[in-house]
Amino acid sequence: MKTVGMPRGLFYYYYYPWYKTFFNDLGARVILSSPTTRITVDQGINMAVDETCFPIKVYFGHVQELCQYDLDYLFVPRIVSVEARSYICPKFMGVPDMIRASFSDLPPLIDITIDISRSPRDFQEELYKTGRLFTKSRRRIKAAYEHGREELKYCQAIAAQGYTMAEAIDIWEGQEEKGSWNSDLCIGVLGHGYSLYDQTISLDIIGRLRKMGCRVLLPEALPGERVEEEASTMPKRIFWTLGRKMVGSAFIMEKKPEIDGIIYVACFACGPDSFIGEIIERKIENKPYMLLVIDEHTGEGGLNTRLEAFCDMLRRKRRQKIEDNLPAYG
């Protein structure tokens, strides 16, 4: 049985169920790196080019972990574009090349180029090409591809119930669903999935908010067409896939009466984040909004202070509203 290594980082959070199903159906075993830890981070920082962003550095740490296994292939796709007229950050385009340049003892890479902007069938064609490494049967490849797509949809449906993509993947893999959280606040949290849903990179912002009594609403819980519709109200079309999704999601969240506030989690060295976070800040006028910038630091104190102050503000505001509405004559 052939083995395929897959780093638990970057677009793992958006596509893993599809890839895993695809490889399994073709008779391959998928070896996933373990959840990010301090060691993953340290190794990633050692191996990666300094100018990249934090999530890419962490990705390098996951590659390093996988290098210790005897793998037939390492799956590190070059993701250029996942939808028409839209792109992923240019740093992603260089990921397979940077990995080749930084590691000496790599297993053979599957570094297919996914560029839907080139052709709508690009993803399919590239995965078909990958499939031929494992079988000659085109029919079998096609079936595995279709099955993968169904499984991803199923996993996305789990996420839409209020789970992060990381939790949804765990549940999809058969883990038990987590219990419900008590909450009196509802907060919309935005950010690139590969930073937000990695508990180490984001310092578990979502878990912290839940502990502080917040229900968290994530972009994956919003209908895609509505997100596009809202994002298209911008005077110029945003051609970064994730950036546009965040702007559209923020606009929907602003209109939802049950949402008390919005938090955007940006990465310090992220180019698109540096202006998407800013655009949202300028456009959101009717809801409290907070931009949190994360990087390699482990200082949790500053993060807790900001989250706690944000929740306090929302609760005190609500209390004031109730008091203002009470008739003065009792």
Binding site: S34, K211, F268, P288, D295, A309, D312
Partner: protein, 326 residues
């Protein structure tokens, strides 16, 4: 007499206040943390006792600042609150009409906007601490000048020089360049004040609608040069509360009073002998339980372990059955 104690354990200063049941300030203490918050908390409390020369009847304690959890462990706090809420509560108690609070401390700078006495928006410095108190301290000591003379000297300036405030390192190299060109020291200091104000407004205050009345508090408000620079750039008068340096602690005390009176509970205060007689020690270790290698802090009093924190899985923290550190 009965008091509520408020403590604000910051990176540079540790502040203590006593307020009475009518929320009037009875005592205040501003001490330097000097890198040892445990000692600062203990000494602060001791000094407070010596100053009052009476048995303090503490009805409640509120703690804030980045060392608030330490204060909670040593003193036994009823309310442990973040600095934003504490500062806002204190400012709106003294100035019910306040709309904007500028707060600059040792490592943090914040802007807080209020409507009807409640925070409506706030921001804190992100990754960079340029322009906060510790940077001013550092510059004063480089110029071999007491930080207390910084403001009065800057005020003598007639023509401030232009200094880049975007980054502390650039600001310092600009200052050195101007000093070697022969510009008078007061013009350089005033130039630095204006640079820091511009940096604050473009960074922390970015996109925020700054409306009067404006209050300037935190340790850095002692610097008259910065007040003048804010007034020049914002073109509005700025108020500095009489107790600008301990506003966080006052806020914490007020919150403690609110909490104790609303809930009708007794204070969690640990008592004089617990605080003064015991030896408090903190130590840290790297937990090897999993690859996360969390740096766990352990706070001890004599042989008794009071608290652990820093472990992601909370196996140490919860081993004591303590309340959660949030």
């Amino acid at each position: 007499m009965s008091y509520y104690l408020g403590v604000d354990i910051g990176s540079v200063s540790s502040n203590f206040v006593l307020i009475d049941e009518k929320q009037q300030l009875q005592e205040k203490l501003y001490l330097r943390t000097e890198g040892n918050p445990v000692r600062a908390i203990k000494n602060g409390y001791k000094e407070l006792l010596e100053k009052r020369r009476e048995k303090l009847d503490i009805k409640g304690i509120g703690a804030t600042g980045s060392g608030r959890h330490l204060a909670d462990i040593i003193l036994g706090a009823d309310v442990v609150k973040n600095e934003i809420t504490a500062h806002a509560v204190a400012a709106s108690w003294f100035y019910p009409e306040v709309r904007t609070i500028i707060e600059i401390g040792g490592q943090d700078s914040k802007i807080i906007l209020l409507q009807g006495g409640v925070v409506s928006d706030f921001a804190m410095n992100t990754v960079c601490a340029a322009g906060t108190g510790s940077f001013l301290d550092q510059q004063a000591s480089r110029l071999n000048m007491s930080i207390y003379d910084f403001g009065p000297t800057a005020l003598k300036s007639k023509q401030a020089v232009r200094i880049a405030g975007r980054c502390g390192v650039f600001a310092e190299s600009d200052m050195i360049h101007k000093q070697q060109m022969g510009y008078p020291i007061e013009d350089i200091l005033m130039g630095l004040c204006e640079a820091l104000v511009r940096n604050y407004l473009n960074n922390v205050g970015k996109g925020k609608k700054i409306e009067a009345p404006i209050i300037f508090q935190g340790g850095v408000a002692a610097n008259a040069g910065l007040k003048k620079a804010f007034e020049k750039i914002l073109q509005t008068p700025i108020m500095i509360p009489p107790h600008y340096d301990v506003m966080g602690a006052i806020g914490a005390a007020i919150l403690a009073r609110e909490y104790i009176e609303d809930q009708g509970v007794n204070t969690a205060f640990k008592g004089d002998s617990f605080i003064i007689e015991g030896q408090f020690k903190s130590s840290s270790f790297e937990c090897k339980g999993c690859p996360n290698l969390c740096e766990v802090v352990c706070i001890k009093r004599e042989q008794e372990i009071l608290a652990y924190w820093g472990d992601r899985c909370q196996k140490w923290e919860s081993s004591l059955g303590h309340k959660e550190v949030g």
